[in-house]
Amino acid sequence: MSMLEIKNLILSANGKRILDGLSLDLHEGYVHAIVGPNGAGKSTLASAVMGLSGYRDITGEMIFEGQNLHDLSVDERARKGITLAWQEPARFEGLTVRKFIRAAAGDMTDQAVADVLEKVGLSPLMHMPRAVDKTLSGGERKKIELASILAMKPRLVMLDEPDSGIDIESLRRIKQAITVLKADGSTVLLITHSLEVLGWAEHAFLMCCGRILDKGDPENISRYFKDRCIPCDHKNLPQMNGDMGNG
């Protein structure tokens, strides 16, 4: 069953079409991935689905569980069950990890906060009282953001470049957390240009120049991306009119 249906999405910035008539369906309960080169519009798509400022001037439709998202604010979309993990998570001076995670789930015991921290491989004792600020590494902040999403139990979670700036052990933990999210009933959308992350998905989309070029089995998409997209010097030019260059 289609959970999120995107039809002919167009978003322009500075005279350039970032999303150029993009359409896709996400099926409930699956781990999906969108792979594509830098500048393909992957993060823009996630930002538009979340309704972030600067990504609201769009045409086309985004239907989430039968409701058009167009007029909903970020928090209204979140209360429908949509959330996003940023490629570079925000830092919050003075805001403790405990409070940050609780914010995602309303009333939550310390034990429940500890549970989600352990699921992402962080020590509750060490991390709960710390601030979500610049004293944490990028990998720690990514894991804390993921812990807050586990606490939220979203219907749809979009993870933007979950592997960027983290070590191998952290990547393993993030993969485990995605397994937990799926087991808890969340639909997952991975935004990536990593073939490894693409391999975690059950269904994949190939994106270039603000459009979906192909979709289907992640292995096939991975092969195509590796053989054709990575060597391609194709640029995300405006108004491509279907000419996909070498890619």
Binding site: V74, A78, W86, S148
Partner: protein, 306 residues
């Protein structure tokens, strides 16, 4: 109401009852309760509008438990003036928590004028916690001049725990000798027609002296904030940083004037100032977890001021 009521508002019964903890409670111009510990000498004299204090920490004395000072008044109107001369002798260590309690203030003025000398390798920490009324009918004017001798350490924090600021005009100036360390921090949230003035100055005159001036202010409604941070360095290897963040909501306004002056080629001072609305990425991160804009803003501001 009994002036000991002040200690209930400050929630320091345990400290007052503890025979090993020094304290001083002053209601308006009356010394309500006091206790000293070995090495701590307190001479308090009542004046028409407050008290005059002479405090000496003897050389080498390390006071293990925080010393609680409670100033304030329970009346709706009044003036309280505290004049303090504090000497922390060489190698001594003291941590003071000052509870400034004005829970019913409608027309109150609280003035603190302090002269503080921190001796060689002595350590002084001063945390000032305020409890005000919700009416904001108070003017608070804390002024301190602090001298740090060689290797001395001084740290101060200002917090408003409850109620409205009213008018606050902080004026602290610290002069830092060789190898001394100074940290001055103010965290204040203003609303209504509150006025917040922070004037913090540090002079790094000793070699290898270090200092940080930190201000965190959040204002909303029609509140105003003016922050003047000045740090000067005139000695080799002096290191300093000025850090000011102010969040503005509604019709509130704020300014920040960081002044850094360096007159020695081997000294170094940095500064950063950020004024404006709540950061969009922080806001949208919390909103993407389901908080509405006001809830997200409150959480961000409370973190900043924590």
């Amino acid at each position: 109401m009994d002036n000991l009521e002040l200690t209930k508002f400050a929630n320091i019964h345990a400290a007052i009852d503890d025979p090993d903890t020094a304290h001083l409670v002053i209601g308006l111009n009356k010394i309500v309760s006091s206790r000293t510990v070995d090495g701590l000498e307190v001479d308090a004299q009542e004046t028409p509008d407050g008290v005059k204090l002479k405090i000496i920490v003897a050389e080498g004395t390390v006071i293990a438990k925080p010393v609680h000072m409670c100033f304030g008044l329970l009346q709706e109107a009044g003036i309280q003036e505290i004049e303090m001369d504090m000497v922390i002798r060489a190698g001594a260590k003291i941590n003071v928590i000052a509870h400034c309690v004005f829970p019913n203030a409608v027309d109150v003025r609280h003035v603190m004028d302090a002269k503080i000398s921190v001796g060689p390798h002595a350590n002084y920490t001063y945390l000032e916690r305020h409890i005000h009324s919700d009416e904001g009918g108070i003017t608070v004017v804390p002024k301190a001049r602090i001298e740090l001798a060689e290797g001395a350490r001084f740290k101060t924090d200002f917090e408003l725990l409850q109620g409205r600021v009213g008018v606050i005009d902080i004026d602290y100036e610290t002069t830092c000798g060789p190898d001394s360390v100074m940290e001055m921090t103010s965290k204040i949230r203003g609303r209504g027609d509150d006025l917040i003035k922070i004037r913090e100055t540090g002079h790094l005159i000793g070699e290898r002296s270090r200092g940080v001036l930190t201000s965190r202010v959040a204002v909303k409604d029609n509140a105003r904030a003016e922050v003047y941070n000045k740090l000067t360095a005139t000695a080799a290897y002096a290191r300093g940083h000025v850090d000011c963040k102010e969040i503005i909501q509604g019709n509130a306004s704020a300014n920040a004037v960081p002044i850094v002056e360096v007159s020695h080629p081997k000294a170094h001072i940095t500064h950063e100032a950020a004024l404006g609305s709540v950061d969009t990425k922080q806001l949208e991160t919390l909103m993407s977890r389901g908080l509405n804009e006001d809830e997200a803003s409150d959480l961000i501001v409370s973190g900043l001021l924590s």
